[in-house]
């Protein structure tokens, strides 16, 4: 094979490799990261909507669930849990609320993103109903109690006596095509 032909082969293979790595960075790494976090429960991302199954309530065990709220960046709403914490038995569905108040004079849409610590319990924290499954529109000046129903799985690792659920609320008004229609 002539040098020119060998050079062309090296160029084609290398460019192919480089393009592959570019695609890998954009199209493979982010989903892989999400998958990794989902499997390991890292990042404290809780699962999607859970359908309650018939389990025995483990009254012998008590778990304290603490609630935390924070606002992202310039999000102006008042956003806080109605109760600081509750004590529950594993297996028992519990309803709590977060309070949100749009203090601005504009209609806004928000999205709450959950995070759970310690991060190895994300798989044992089930939500049957949650305001975080959808976005939360509030008209100017409106306020609302946002509902959350959760069940702690009876298989929760021994030694975990308290978990903390945190919501960060983000302003996504700009991302929603028609904020008013959301109301």
């Amino acid at each position: 094979m002539s040098t020119d032909a060998s050079n062309r082969r090296v160029v084609v293979k290398s460019l192919f490799g480089a393009a592959g790595m570019f695609a890998f960075a954009i199209f493979v790494l982010p989903p892989m990261y999400d998958l990794f976090c989902e499997i390991t429960g890292l990042g404290g991302k809780t699962g999607d909507e859970y359908t309650a199954v018939d389990v025995k309530i483990d009254t012998s065990r008590e778990v304290r669930v603490r609630f935390v709220a924070s606002n992202n960046a310039s999000m102006p709403w008042v956003f806080k849990p109605t109760q600081d914490s509750v004590v529950v038995h594993p297996g028992e569905p519990t309803e709590i609320t977060y309070f949100a108040h749009n203090v601005t004079d504009q209609d806004m849409v928000s999205q709450a993103i959950p995070s759970l610590v310690p991060n190895n319990v994300a798989d044992y924290f089930h939500k049957t109903e949650c305001f975080c499954f959808e976005n939360q529109p509030l008209a100017a000046g409106d306020q609302a109690d946002l509902k959350l129903v959760f069940i702690i799985d009876p298989d929760l690792p021994a030694g975990v006596n308290s978990v903390t659920l945190s919501y960060t609320i983000f302003d996504i008004t700009d991302r929603v095509a028609d904020p008013i229609a959301q109301l």
């Binding site: 050079n7 090296v10 480089a18 790595m21 960075a25 990261y33 890292l42 990042g43 983000f170």
Partner: protein, 524 residues
Amino acid sequence: MAHGPATLADGWRAYISRWVFTTNHKDIGTLYLWFSFAMFLMGGAFAMIIRAELFQPGMQLIRPEFFNQMTTMHGLVMVFGAIMPAFVGLANWMIPLMIGAPDMALPRMNNLSFWILPFAFAILTSTLFMEGGGPNFGWTFYAPLSTTYAPESVNFFIFAIHIMGASSIMGSINIIATVMNMRAPGMTYMKMPLFVWTWVITAFLLVAVMPVLAGAVTMMLMDINFGTSFFDAAGGGDPVLFQHVFWFFGHPEVYIIILPAFGVVSQIIPTFSRKPLFGYSSMVYATAAIAFLSFVVWAHHMFTVGMPIAGELYFMYATMLIAVPTGVKVFNWITTMYKGSLTFETPMLFSIAFVILFTFGGFTGLMLSIAAADMQYHDTYFVVAHFHYVMVAGAVFSGTAAIYYWLPKWCGKMYNETMGQVQFWVAFIGFNIAFMPQHFLGLAGMPRRYADYGLQFADWNMVSSIGAFIYGGAQIMLLYNVIATIRNGKPTTEEKTWEGAEGLEWTVPSPAPYHTFAKPPEFK
């Protein structure tokens, strides 16, 4: 030679055309080297501004916003503008000479890969004059600092990174093709000079990870301008993902910077020890092992983001593992010198300083790799001191050694040995005064990237600044030495400038003719 290159005697137009349209590997190597030196001086000027502001506590000279731009630009310019192009320049000049090739495999692409670089850095530097200022988010440009909170000029920064990436990838492909296809008959892979080996491994690293960097900045670009949420939790993304992607590029990048430096030192130490390199094949395998391991240790840069203990342990042990092949290299360099008939010309002085100071920086790296201890060291001046020991005393010292070592071959003039040695000692002493105290500052808890600091850090910061000014002065001396050599150096025509030098580059006349090895040389 009937068709020599145009000189100034042929008129300005011909002279400029020669450099703009050149496809000659020596011309392009020269362009890369001068460009990288210009960038080195610019990045150095930024460093001088940083150290001048940190000379005393409180704000004296610049505003904190501008300080942030200076630290960011210093890092970006030094990594992408000074060190990387300097070694590409050395590769262009020396690889064809070392393997007996007439030129690089792809001369036109070679021209392109150099000439897009000045545009990239013109774009990057121009951001300093824009409203809102240049990049101010640190050279690691973590999201959301570099996305949600970035200055308007961030799009220029992203575009500049794209161009630099394209340039590096083209340069690397060229090196791979040259080494694979253009070696002189008889030069098998395991007979190649070590500089060629380290560069070809570096080139593979570049082809693998520069696209990842391009991917990271592309995702930033889309988050900023097109409403995606790769790194934005509001839309389901995660800022920590940015750190993973960045360091998946970033850790191999530090070996991209240091491996060619290893190669240079592995050429110089045998020459002045008048002994062949000890453990040649172990050097090659150690280099390959370092390159491979660099892909699996990235998260040691982010021990503090919140990782499970298993992850911290894995990244800690994997990182410590890199010390093994690196230790093999250091052992081989020292053993090469052992019982050699040593002389201490300037290139050798820089190489020995490289071995000592790089090893020192390697040890502080081992300290940083301890996940539990890193919680204290993270983002302090200890980290700054560590990576300046490996990047400056590593890459820059070895680059300086390479300039003194090959300058007589490049221009046919001998540098002034006294001036070279004076420059070495000024650089060596200045460097250590500048960076040794930063270890103490870091251990005492001074965080990096701040424009101001507590009074308890005042003394060592003043010492560090004085050292930095001395080290900066040493670079002006280097520039003077190079120009003085080119203009008034003692002419040397002997092929072998250094008595103990081995290799094909020492079989061509000095200065190396414009065209060499039109016929492949004999290599035994």
